[in-house]
Protein backbone atom coordinates (compact mmCIF):
# COMPACT_ATOMS: atom_id res chain seq x y z
CA UNK A 1 0.00 0.00 0.00
CA UNK A 2 2.67 2.47 1.08
CA UNK A 3 4.81 1.67 -1.94
CA UNK A 4 1.92 2.29 -4.38
CA UNK A 5 1.18 5.66 -2.80
CA UNK A 6 4.88 6.53 -2.85
CA UNK A 7 5.34 5.80 -6.54
CA UNK A 8 2.12 7.58 -7.57
CA UNK A 9 3.03 10.70 -5.57
CA UNK A 10 6.67 10.57 -6.76
CA UNK A 11 5.62 10.33 -10.41
CA UNK A 12 3.21 13.24 -9.93
CA UNK A 13 5.90 15.30 -8.18
CA UNK A 14 8.48 14.74 -10.94
CA UNK A 15 5.99 15.36 -13.76
CA UNK A 16 4.74 18.62 -12.23
CA UNK A 17 8.30 19.78 -11.48
CA UNK A 18 9.29 19.23 -15.12
CA UNK A 19 6.13 21.09 -16.17
CA UNK A 20 7.10 24.07 -13.98
CA UNK A 21 10.48 24.30 -15.69
CA UNK A 22 9.32 23.61 -19.24
CA UNK A 23 6.15 25.71 -19.45
CA UNK A 24 6.33 29.01 -21.29
CA UNK A 25 3.37 30.60 -19.50
CA UNK A 26 4.21 31.45 -15.85
CA UNK A 27 0.55 31.00 -14.89
CA UNK A 28 0.64 27.32 -15.96
CA UNK A 29 4.02 26.97 -14.20
CA UNK A 30 2.50 28.24 -10.96
CA UNK A 31 -0.44 25.83 -11.24
CA UNK A 32 2.01 22.95 -11.88
CA UNK A 33 3.95 23.98 -8.76
CA UNK A 34 0.67 23.76 -6.85
CA UNK A 35 0.39 20.11 -7.95
CA UNK A 36 4.01 19.53 -6.95
CA UNK A 37 3.36 20.93 -3.45
CA UNK A 38 0.28 18.76 -2.97
CA UNK A 39 2.11 15.58 -4.03
CA UNK A 40 4.98 16.42 -1.68
CA UNK A 41 2.41 16.87 1.10
CA UNK A 42 1.15 13.35 0.33
CA UNK A 43 4.72 12.03 0.67
CA UNK A 44 5.10 13.84 4.00
CA UNK A 45 1.85 12.24 5.20
CA UNK A 46 3.38 8.90 4.21
CA UNK A 47 6.29 9.81 6.51
CA UNK A 48 3.75 10.48 9.28
CA UNK A 49 4.63 14.18 9.48
CA UNK A 50 1.01 15.33 9.64
CA UNK A 51 1.62 18.84 10.88
CA UNK A 52 4.32 19.64 8.30
CA UNK A 53 2.13 18.24 5.50
CA UNK A 54 -0.83 20.41 6.51
CA UNK A 55 1.41 23.46 7.00
CA UNK A 56 2.81 22.80 3.53
CA UNK A 57 -0.70 22.93 2.06
CA UNK A 58 -1.87 25.95 4.07
CA UNK A 59 1.30 28.05 3.93
CA UNK A 60 2.63 27.15 0.49
CA UNK A 61 -0.36 26.08 -1.58
CA UNK A 62 -2.54 28.63 0.20
CA UNK A 63 -0.64 31.81 0.96
CA UNK A 64 2.54 31.77 -1.12
CA UNK A 65 0.93 30.49 -4.32
CA UNK A 66 -1.91 33.03 -4.10
CA UNK A 67 0.73 35.75 -3.87
CA UNK A 68 2.52 34.25 -6.89
CA UNK A 69 -0.67 34.09 -8.95
CA UNK A 70 -1.53 37.68 -7.99
CA UNK A 71 1.87 38.97 -9.17
CA UNK A 72 1.70 36.88 -12.37
CA UNK A 73 -1.71 38.38 -13.12
CA UNK A 74 -0.35 41.87 -12.33
CA UNK A 75 2.65 41.45 -14.62
CA UNK A 76 0.57 39.93 -17.42
CA UNK A 77 2.11 38.71 -20.67
CA UNK A 78 5.35 40.60 -19.94
CA UNK A 79 6.36 37.77 -17.62
CA UNK A 80 6.68 35.27 -20.45
CA UNK A 81 10.21 34.44 -21.54
CA UNK A 82 10.24 31.03 -23.13
CA UNK A 83 12.80 28.30 -22.51
CA UNK A 84 13.70 28.26 -26.19
CA UNK A 85 15.59 31.55 -26.01
CA UNK A 86 18.79 30.12 -24.59
CA UNK A 87 21.62 29.04 -26.84
CA UNK A 88 21.59 25.23 -27.39
CA UNK A 89 24.96 24.68 -25.67
CA UNK A 90 23.67 26.50 -22.58
CA UNK A 91 20.60 24.24 -22.53
CA UNK A 92 22.69 21.09 -22.79
CA UNK A 93 25.20 22.28 -20.19
CA UNK A 94 22.38 23.09 -17.71
CA UNK A 95 20.73 19.70 -18.25
CA UNK A 96 24.13 17.98 -17.93
CA UNK A 97 24.82 19.79 -14.64
CA UNK A 98 21.41 18.82 -13.26
CA UNK A 99 21.78 15.17 -14.35
CA UNK A 100 25.28 14.93 -12.85
CA UNK A 101 24.11 16.24 -9.48
CA UNK A 102 21.10 13.88 -9.45
CA UNK A 103 23.31 10.88 -10.39
CA UNK A 104 25.89 11.83 -7.78
CA UNK A 105 23.38 12.04 -4.94
CA UNK A 106 21.54 8.89 -6.03
CA UNK A 107 24.81 6.89 -6.24
CA UNK A 108 25.91 8.10 -2.82
CA UNK A 109 22.58 7.35 -1.14
CA UNK A 110 22.08 4.05 -2.99
CA UNK A 111 25.35 2.73 -1.60
CA UNK A 112 24.51 3.81 1.94
CA UNK A 113 22.67 1.43 4.23
CA UNK A 114 20.26 3.02 6.65
CA UNK A 115 18.71 1.51 9.71
CA UNK A 116 15.05 0.64 9.55
CA UNK A 117 12.47 3.32 10.27
CA UNK A 118 12.40 4.16 13.96
CA UNK A 119 9.55 2.96 16.14
CA UNK A 120 7.17 5.84 16.77
CA UNK A 121 4.12 6.42 18.91
CA UNK A 122 0.86 8.10 17.93
CA UNK A 123 2.13 11.47 19.13
CA UNK A 124 4.83 11.64 16.44
CA UNK A 125 4.46 14.58 14.07
CA UNK A 126 1.37 15.96 15.84
CA UNK A 127 0.98 19.73 16.26
CA UNK A 128 1.49 19.31 20.02
CA UNK A 129 4.87 17.59 19.59
CA UNK A 130 6.13 20.08 16.99
CA UNK A 131 4.88 23.08 18.97
CA UNK A 132 6.58 21.77 22.10
CA UNK A 133 9.90 21.58 20.21
CA UNK A 134 9.41 25.04 18.65
CA UNK A 135 8.91 26.89 21.94
CA UNK A 136 11.49 24.99 23.98
CA UNK A 137 14.55 23.72 22.09
CA UNK A 138 14.18 25.91 19.00
CA UNK A 139 12.87 29.12 20.54
CA UNK A 140 15.73 31.24 19.14
CA UNK A 141 15.22 29.98 15.58
CA UNK A 142 11.48 30.57 15.93
CA UNK A 143 12.01 34.19 17.00
CA UNK A 144 14.60 34.80 14.28
CA UNK A 145 12.14 33.55 11.66
CA UNK A 146 9.54 36.00 12.92
CA UNK A 147 12.05 38.88 12.62
CA UNK A 148 13.03 37.76 9.10
CA UNK A 149 9.36 37.56 8.06
CA UNK A 150 8.84 41.08 9.38
CA UNK A 151 11.86 42.32 7.41
CA UNK A 152 10.48 40.58 4.33
CA UNK A 153 7.13 42.33 4.76
CA UNK A 154 8.83 45.73 5.10
CA UNK A 155 10.99 45.03 2.03
CA UNK A 156 7.93 43.97 0.03
CA UNK A 157 6.13 47.21 0.87
CA UNK A 158 9.17 49.35 0.01
CA UNK A 159 9.85 47.56 -3.27
CA UNK A 160 6.20 47.41 -4.26
CA UNK A 161 5.09 50.97 -3.51
CA UNK A 162 7.95 53.36 -2.83
CA UNK A 163 11.36 53.92 -4.34
CA UNK A 164 12.54 56.69 -6.57
CA UNK A 165 10.87 56.97 -9.97
CA UNK A 166 12.95 55.94 -12.96
CA UNK A 167 15.61 58.50 -13.89
CA UNK A 168 15.14 59.89 -17.38
CA UNK A 169 17.99 59.77 -19.86
CA UNK A 170 19.26 62.99 -21.47
CA UNK A 171 17.41 62.30 -24.72
CA UNK A 172 14.14 61.76 -22.89
CA UNK A 173 14.61 65.01 -20.89
CA UNK A 174 15.30 66.86 -24.12
CA UNK A 175 12.25 65.32 -25.80
CA UNK A 176 10.07 66.26 -22.85
CA UNK A 177 11.36 69.87 -22.85
CA UNK A 178 10.80 70.39 -26.58
CA UNK A 179 7.36 68.82 -26.23
CA UNK A 180 6.36 71.20 -23.43
CA UNK A 181 7.88 74.17 -25.29
CA UNK A 182 5.84 73.20 -28.33
CA UNK A 183 2.70 72.97 -26.19
CA UNK A 184 3.35 76.35 -24.60
CA UNK A 185 3.96 77.92 -28.03
CA UNK A 186 0.73 76.43 -29.36
CA UNK A 187 -1.21 77.63 -26.35
CA UNK A 188 0.16 81.14 -26.70
CA UNK A 189 -0.73 81.32 -30.39
CA UNK A 190 -4.21 80.01 -29.64
CA UNK A 191 -4.64 82.75 -27.00
CA UNK A 192 -3.53 85.37 -29.52
CA UNK A 193 -5.94 83.93 -32.09
CA UNK A 194 -8.82 83.96 -29.59
CA UNK A 195 -8.05 87.55 -28.59
CA UNK A 196 -7.99 88.75 -32.19
CA UNK A 197 -11.16 86.85 -32.99
CA UNK A 198 -12.86 88.40 -29.96
CA UNK A 199 -11.77 91.92 -30.85
CA UNK A 200 -12.88 91.41 -34.46
CA UNK A 201 -16.27 90.16 -33.20
CA UNK A 202 -16.63 93.28 -31.10
CA UNK A 203 -15.58 95.48 -34.02
CA UNK A 204 -18.16 94.18 -36.51
Amino acid sequence: MGIVVFFLAAAAAIATAVAVVAQRNPFVSALALLGNLVSLAVLMLLLEAQFVAIAQIIVYAGAVMVMFLFVIAYVGPRGEVGPGERKPWQVWLAILAGTLIAIEVIVVTYGATFEDWAEIDGNYGSPAAIGQELVTNYLLAFEVVSVILFMGAVAGVIFGTGGRPRRLSNDEVLAKETESAELRRREASRAVLDATRESMGEGS
Binding site: A17, P26, N36, L37, L40, Q56, V71, A97, T109, Y110
Partner: protein, 101 residues
Protein backbone atom coordinates in the same frame (compact mmCIF):
# COMPACT_ATOMS: atom_id res chain seq x y z
CA UNK B 1 5.96 0.87 5.42
CA UNK B 2 7.45 -0.88 2.41
CA UNK B 3 9.40 2.11 1.12
CA UNK B 4 13.00 2.57 2.21
CA UNK B 5 14.69 5.89 2.96
CA UNK B 6 16.80 5.60 -0.22
CA UNK B 7 13.70 6.10 -2.39
CA UNK B 8 12.85 9.36 -0.66
CA UNK B 9 16.44 10.61 -1.00
CA UNK B 10 16.54 9.65 -4.69
CA UNK B 11 13.26 11.42 -5.40
CA UNK B 12 14.53 14.46 -3.51
CA UNK B 13 17.73 14.48 -5.60
CA UNK B 14 15.74 14.30 -8.85
CA UNK B 15 13.42 17.15 -7.79
CA UNK B 16 16.40 19.25 -6.67
CA UNK B 17 18.14 18.87 -10.02
CA UNK B 18 14.95 19.64 -11.96
CA UNK B 19 14.70 22.88 -9.97
CA UNK B 20 18.39 23.58 -10.57
CA UNK B 21 17.98 23.15 -14.32
CA UNK B 22 15.02 25.55 -14.16
CA UNK B 23 17.08 28.20 -12.34
CA UNK B 24 19.93 27.85 -14.84
CA UNK B 25 17.76 27.68 -17.95
CA UNK B 26 14.91 30.13 -17.55
CA UNK B 27 15.18 33.87 -18.00
CA UNK B 28 11.89 35.05 -16.53
CA UNK B 29 12.41 36.01 -12.85
CA UNK B 30 8.97 34.60 -12.02
CA UNK B 31 9.85 31.14 -13.30
CA UNK B 32 13.24 31.28 -11.58
CA UNK B 33 11.44 31.91 -8.27
CA UNK B 34 9.08 28.98 -8.97
CA UNK B 35 12.08 26.71 -9.67
CA UNK B 36 13.70 27.86 -6.43
CA UNK B 37 10.55 26.74 -4.61
CA UNK B 38 10.97 23.25 -6.10
CA UNK B 39 14.56 23.08 -4.79
CA UNK B 40 13.54 24.25 -1.29
CA UNK B 41 10.71 21.73 -1.18
CA UNK B 42 12.89 18.82 -2.21
CA UNK B 43 15.22 19.67 0.68
CA UNK B 44 12.19 19.82 2.98
CA UNK B 45 11.27 16.30 1.90
CA UNK B 46 14.78 15.11 2.79
CA UNK B 47 14.57 16.73 6.22
CA UNK B 48 11.21 15.14 6.97
CA UNK B 49 12.40 11.73 5.71
CA UNK B 50 15.50 11.76 7.93
CA UNK B 51 13.40 12.98 10.83
CA UNK B 52 11.15 9.95 10.40
CA UNK B 53 14.18 7.68 10.16
CA UNK B 54 15.64 8.73 13.51
CA UNK B 55 12.19 9.15 15.09
CA UNK B 56 12.68 12.71 16.36
CA UNK B 57 10.88 15.98 15.64
CA UNK B 58 13.99 18.06 14.90
CA UNK B 59 13.91 17.58 11.13
CA UNK B 60 10.26 18.61 11.00
CA UNK B 61 10.96 21.80 12.97
CA UNK B 62 13.79 22.51 10.53
CA UNK B 63 11.40 21.99 7.60
CA UNK B 64 8.88 24.42 9.11
CA UNK B 65 11.59 27.06 9.56
CA UNK B 66 12.71 26.55 5.93
CA UNK B 67 9.07 27.19 4.91
CA UNK B 68 9.05 30.49 6.83
CA UNK B 69 12.31 31.65 5.26
CA UNK B 70 11.05 30.62 1.81
CA UNK B 71 7.94 32.75 2.31
CA UNK B 72 10.09 35.80 3.20
CA UNK B 73 12.31 35.16 0.18
CA UNK B 74 9.31 34.96 -2.14
CA UNK B 75 7.97 38.26 -0.79
CA UNK B 76 11.26 40.02 -1.55
CA UNK B 77 11.55 38.39 -5.00
CA UNK B 78 8.00 39.22 -6.01
CA UNK B 79 8.45 42.77 -4.65
CA UNK B 80 11.41 43.14 -7.00
CA UNK B 81 9.34 41.83 -9.92
CA UNK B 82 6.55 44.33 -9.14
CA UNK B 83 9.10 47.18 -8.86
CA UNK B 84 10.59 46.18 -12.23
CA UNK B 85 7.14 46.16 -13.80
CA UNK B 86 6.32 49.59 -12.35
CA UNK B 87 9.50 51.05 -13.85
CA UNK B 88 8.67 49.43 -17.19
CA UNK B 89 11.83 47.34 -17.26
CA UNK B 90 11.98 44.13 -19.28
CA UNK B 91 11.35 41.04 -17.13
CA UNK B 92 14.39 39.18 -18.40
CA UNK B 93 17.40 38.33 -16.24
CA UNK B 94 19.73 38.58 -19.25
CA UNK B 95 18.78 42.23 -19.70
CA UNK B 96 19.63 43.15 -16.09
CA UNK B 97 23.37 43.53 -16.47
CA UNK B 98 24.12 46.84 -14.76
CA UNK B 99 26.24 44.99 -12.20
CA UNK B 100 27.70 42.57 -14.76
CA UNK B 101 31.48 42.30 -14.38
Amino acid sequence: MGVSLNFFLGLSAILFSVGLVGVLLRRSPLTILLSLEIMLNSVNLTLVAFSREVGGSDGQVFALIVMGIAAAEVVVGLGLVVAMTRREMVLDTDELRTLNG
